[in-house]
């Protein structure tokens, strides 16, 4: 073997090892936070998130700049499906976002996963709201975004589910009233379908919304059981869950769910079907309130493919008393998104100012409330309804106020108590039972097995 060849081999090996090590070091990210946190009242910060949409983000930033004109905030919208893929590498770099969205539980942007890349906001929020700060904020926004006493994110607002939205114009045109129990629901759907009108639409292929419907059923069957079981405090073999699953199956068998529901997604399919007037009812939560506003509804209808849209009167109703227990009106929710400050940010002070303002200051929370996308985190803040141009205020206002009040008082989590594995198990259980491919007892056993393994 020639010396020259050996040399090149050795050089090649060293080069490859060097590349490998460099890549490893680059990937390892870690390291201490920047020593200089910058100014708290000026700077240029970037905010990454899957929500709010650009229109609402611009409104929030504009309101922020009225109080803090020297902090420029750029919102970068990232698709929710790929959020985890992009945020991980981004927050290990000083070139990444200064503020980023986090979410409770098993949702994308989960705090458990990304808490290591965020600073603890507890000292900042204590300074802003006092030592009793937790009592001033919605429970869903505090518990779900705290990991081992570390306040990873501050909730800008929460979304709650458990309600059904109806197109009141379709109901009126067909001489119908909103159903209050399962029999009425079946009758309403029969009547609408006989008139050539779609009744209830659900994109049951997108199982997060199936979980909403199932949790609403369980809140009707036995309030609190759904959350208890997901925490391991109750067994899925309990008869309450058998009843819940039987009702879930009935929604498909009795013609409430549209044909082919499990082949559709809630977004965009079911949303577009409701917004275009093909269906009269849809299972959506408080985030749907924004579409009661005239210009937002028109934009949404256009996005659903409606040409020359005429806005309609949509109203939230309680989930029907499907189990005949009288337990109705319960809602459940989580922080829609929390604002976390990146540990790698070189402008942590300005980033913290923005996060605190949006999540805890009255001005920020009022701006959040007025978007109607979220229920504010700060207690006592309500949307300024007089300044909001609803499609049909006479018909909508009372129902919207009631929805906001009930949701704001709710302490039941939506996804915060559901692990990623349990989330997948719910997909298999709910879609499997709906299609008839999985027996109810098997579905519930599988759910219990996942909880037992955690």
């Amino acid at each position: 073997m020639s010396t020259q060849r050996f040399g090149w081999r050795r050089a090649g090996a060293i080069a490859i090892a060097g590349v490998a090590l460099t890549t490893l070091v680059a990937c390892s990210g870690g390291g201490s936070a920047p020593a200089d946190q910058g100014s708290a009242t000026e700077g240029n910060i970037t905010w990454w998130g899957w929500t709010p949409d650009k229109t609402n983000a611009d409104k929030l930033i504009a309101a922020f700049n009225e109080e803090y004109p020297d902090i420029t905030v750029e919102f970068v919208s990232k698709p929710i499906d790929t959020y985890d893929s992009v945020i991980g590498p981004a927050i290990t770099s000083t070139d990444g976002p200064d503020v980023f969205n986090v979410a409770p539980g098993s949702a994308n942007g989960g705090v458990d996963t990304f808490q290591a890349g965020a600073v603890d906001l507890r000292p900042a929020v204590e300074e802003a709201l006092g030592s009793d700060w937790e009592s001033k904020l919605a429970t869903s926004g505090v518990d779900g975004l705290t990991v081992d006493d570390k306040v990873v994110g501050l909730s800008a607002g929460a979304v709650y589910s458990g309600s059904v939205w109806i197109n009141q114009d379709i109901f009126d045109a067909n001489g119908l009233t909103a159903p209050t129990n399962l029999d009425e629901w079946i009758a309403v759907c029969d009547a609408l379908q006989a008139a050539g009108q779609g009744c209830f639409v659900q994109g049951a292929g997108q199982w997060a919304f199936d979980m909403d419907t199932f949790e609403a059923i369980m809140e009707n069957v036995e309030p609190g059981a759904y959350v208890k079981a997901s925490k391991g405090e109750m067994d899925y073999s309990d008869p309450a869950f058998v009843t819940g699953m039987e009702i879930w199956k009935k929604l498909f068998d009795e013609g409430i769910m549209q044909e082919g529901a499990i082949g559709l997604q809630q977004y965009p399919d079911a949303n577009n079907a409701f917004m275009s007037g093909k269906y009269a009812m849809v299972m959506m939560g408080t985030w749907y309130t924004q579409y009661a506003v005239k210009d937002i509804m028109i934009a949404s209808m256009e996005a659903a493919g409606v040409s020359n849209p005429v806005p309609f009167t949509m109203i939230p109703i309680q989930f029907p008393d499907v189990a005949d227990t009288g337990n109705v009106g319960n809602m459940f929710g989580d922080a829609d998104y929390g604002l976390a400050v990146s540990a790698k940010s070189e402008q942590q002070a300005a980033a913290t100012t923005f996060a605190l303002w949006l999540a805890t200051a009255e001005g920020g929370q009022q701006a959040v409330a007025n978007t109607l996308n979220n229920i504010p985190s700060l207690k006592g803040v309500q949307p300024q309804w007089d300044n909001i141009d609803l499609v049909n205020a006479d018909a909508q206002l009372d129902a919207l106020k009631e929805l906001t009040d009930v949701a704001g008082a709710s302490t039941q989590p939506r996804f915060a108590s559901v692990s990623a594995d349990l989330n997948s198990a719910f997909r298999d259980a709910l879609i499997g039972v709906a299609s008839g491919d999985v027996q109810i007892t098997d579905a519930l056993e599988n759910l219990q097995a996942v909880v037992d393994a955690q």
Binding site: T92, G117, G260, G263, D269, A420, S435
Partner: protein, 302 residues
């Protein structure tokens, strides 16, 4: 052996070895090892971890547990079975249609260039742009059911994407629609290489069109067929976009493939180690399939 072997002495500086070429290939070598083989090695390493994938999160070494779990996971085997069936069906149909179109367009037919463009266009369309169209077509209220109703086959109408038995055929149909253009082009090119004299001689001997196709053109295109089969195996193993965009791998895993399952376990469930184990399995199967096809091709050439 006693025969004298006379070696031609190499002139200094003219040796064709690793040393002389190394400076030239070193940048590419570093790139290939740094970007590809390091990544493969890193995936292999991650497959031994229990890790959520975030670089700052702690990980735990679990040895071969992820592989044990994978072999015991019925969804993994379901995905593998779907991949095999998917390959056989799509490859067979694409080959039959692509070969037929190529043969037809080699005959003197009117507007042949236009037909070539029409057949090839689906290949250049991104699945993401076409997925909503196919979701609409195969919806319960979609155009396909409308068509069935209007040709007297309304009894066959169904929610195609919502039933396990029909969702996979839809995914296969979309794939065939998209990739038959490529099969056609490659067969068309292969047929262009056939010596016209061979075909002329067959014609003189009285061979019919079908006989020429079966006994001359098809065998002479076998290299292309095997190359397409190799691409088909790898493509089937990498299948992700069509089932993910059209059926979300459902319902009830009816259109689950290794790619969609890796995405689910990695991105949605945050089991990076487990997803890496499936990725390693996918790599092994892909290399195995590729080698098998290569050996088959080599035997044919010999």
């Amino acid at each position: 052996m006693t025969a004298n072997i006379v070696r031609t002495p190499r002139r200094p500086g003219k040796r064709i070895g690793l040393g002389a070429g190394m400076p030239w290939i070193l940048p590419a070598l570093i790139l290939v090892f740094g970007m590809i083989y390091f990544s493969i090695g890193f995936t292999g390493y991650v497959s031994t971890l229990d890790w959520n994938g975030f670089i700052l999160s702690p990980s735990e070494n679990v040895g071969g547990d992820n592989y044990v779990a994978m072999f015991q996971d019925p969804i993994f085997w379901t995905a593998l079975w779907h991949t095999a069936v998917f390959f056989v069906v799509t490859f067979t149909i694409q080959t039959a249609i692509g070969f037929s179109f190529a043969a037809l367009l080699h005959s003197k037919i009117h507007l042949a260039p236009l037909y070539k463009v029409i057949i090839f266009i689906p290949t250049v369309l991104a699945p993401a742009t076409m997925a909503p169209v196919f979701r609409s077509i195969f919806d319960a209220d979609g155009q396909f059911n409308w068509l069935l109703d209007h040709v007297g086959l309304g009894a066959l109408a169904r929610p195609w994407l919502a039933e396990g038995a029909t969702a996979m055929p839809v995914v296969m149909a979309v794939t065939v629609w998209q990739w038959t253009g490529l099969t056609f082009i490659l067969f068309y090119a292969a047929m262009s290489q056939i010596d016209p004299q061979i075909l002329e001689a067959a014609r003189v001997d009285g061979a019919s069109n079908f006989r020429m196709l079966r006994s001359i053109i098809w065998p002479l295109c076998s290299g292309t067929t095997l190359a397409l089969a190799t691409l088909g195996v790898i493509g089937a193993l990498k299948t992700f976009d069509v089932p993910y965009l059209i059926t979300k791998a459902g319902p009830n895993h009816a259109t689950e493939f290794l790619g969609t399952y890796i995405y689910q376990t990695m991105v949605q469930e945050k089991h990076f180690g487990y997803a890496a184990a499936i990725s390693v399995a996918l790599l092994v199967i892909a290399i195995g399939g590729g080698v098998l096809m290569r050996v088959r091709l080599h035997k044919k050439e010999v």
